[in-house]
Symmetry: C2
Subunit: 209 residues, 2 copies
């Protein structure tokens, strides 16, 4: 198909597609003349992945490029690849710089839960940055609550991995992991707002529970 | 204290403090002369809340202003106020526009879980937008997984509300809810990355589980 049809079928405007081509987020089409290229189903699919990562996931172009590089790279094992891809996805809202006490606490939690990831995993520092945020606002997160959050999230991670079971193709698994990780954060945030309203209503005065 | 001391104790640069004053995110100090004002502990505390919302939570200034307006407004019941405050906090990454089928699915989940929030709750549309994102990338989220995520998040919401039990002051409760909601999304994202690594390693070939 030509770029106009690619635009129509994907819902992505032609100038945006050209921008993605320039930025290397989308593979060039097969040239049919000096100024025209032909695109296929692979382009359509890649476009919808790029769009999910940018529009819904809110990732900057540089992060999208890094994630796609991992998806396209020749791979060793699925597990190693998954780890590299997930490391490239920056969790939102962790700009604060953690101090020694926050890092120590994050590392201790990882050890206690038996999560044994490598010590320089960026997610450990990300966790420490969030703990620093709680502390600096004068609302440090109590140990009991941190552990209960970790337990709930272990349940989330089991679902995350289960969603990948339905696919056999390595490409699909990686793409699913990327989509599920980025969109999953937004999903959990949306579900949490709804569940909070309910839980807050249950505890309002004048009710039994 | 003068603005220089406020800056030193809060770690927020003087120009940033002046910007917050202009934008109405921080109350003006008590004027001691035509060009000088005195600030107190309340300013210090508000500064750290603003910083948490912007730096760690990633909220734009307009959203911070709206959240603070709710915190400062005369209040009816804690539950109602909590609801209004939480509604003002936009969950990240939900720019996609949901279609009818996504909205219907989100509303059905809310009904099935007994979350009975009001039908125009922005979080329902936020949830629908995320479901649309999964669908559009060609990785629609299966019903079984959605329900299991919802169960895990109900556990999260119970912890959320429990963290507010330790405080008696209404002001503190609201501030804690704001901090916990915004930072909590980042916390869950960070914990999820770590728990995913662990879960993925457990399932790698060559292991029993």
């Amino acid at each position: 198909m030509r770029i106009a049809e690619l635009s129509e079928r994907s819902g992505v405007p032609v100038p945006t597609i050209k921008y993605y081509l320039r930025e290397g987020l989308l593979h060039r089409g097969e040239l049919t003349s000096r100024n025209q290229a032909r695109y296929g189903e692979a382009h359509l699919r890649r476009l919808s992945l790029v769009r999910a990562l940018t529009d819904v996931g809110g990732l900057p172009v540089a992060a999208v490029r890094e994630v796609l590089a991992h998806v396209d790279a020749p791979r060793s094992s699925t597990h190693n690849l998954l780890g590299r891809v997930l490391d490239a996805i920056p969790p939102a809202g962790q700009d604060g710089s953690p101090e020694e006490e926050d890092l120590a606490r994050a590392q201790e939690l990882v050890r206690d839960r038996g999560w044994n990831c490598h010590p320089d995993d960026p997610a450990v520092e990300g966790l420490a940055a969030v703990l620093a945020g709680y502390r600096r606002t004068g609302h440090p997160l109590g140990e009991e609550y941190l552990v209960r959050y970790a337990e709930a999230v272990e349940q989330v991670a089991r679902v995350d991995l289960d969603t990948l079971r339905d696919t056999e193709e390595l490409d699909e698994i990686i793409e699913g992991a990327v989509v599920g990780t980025v969109l999953g954060d937004a999903l959990l945030a949306a579900l949490r707002r709804l569940a909070q309203s309910r839980e807050s209503a249950l505890r309002a005065p004048g009710r039994e529970n």
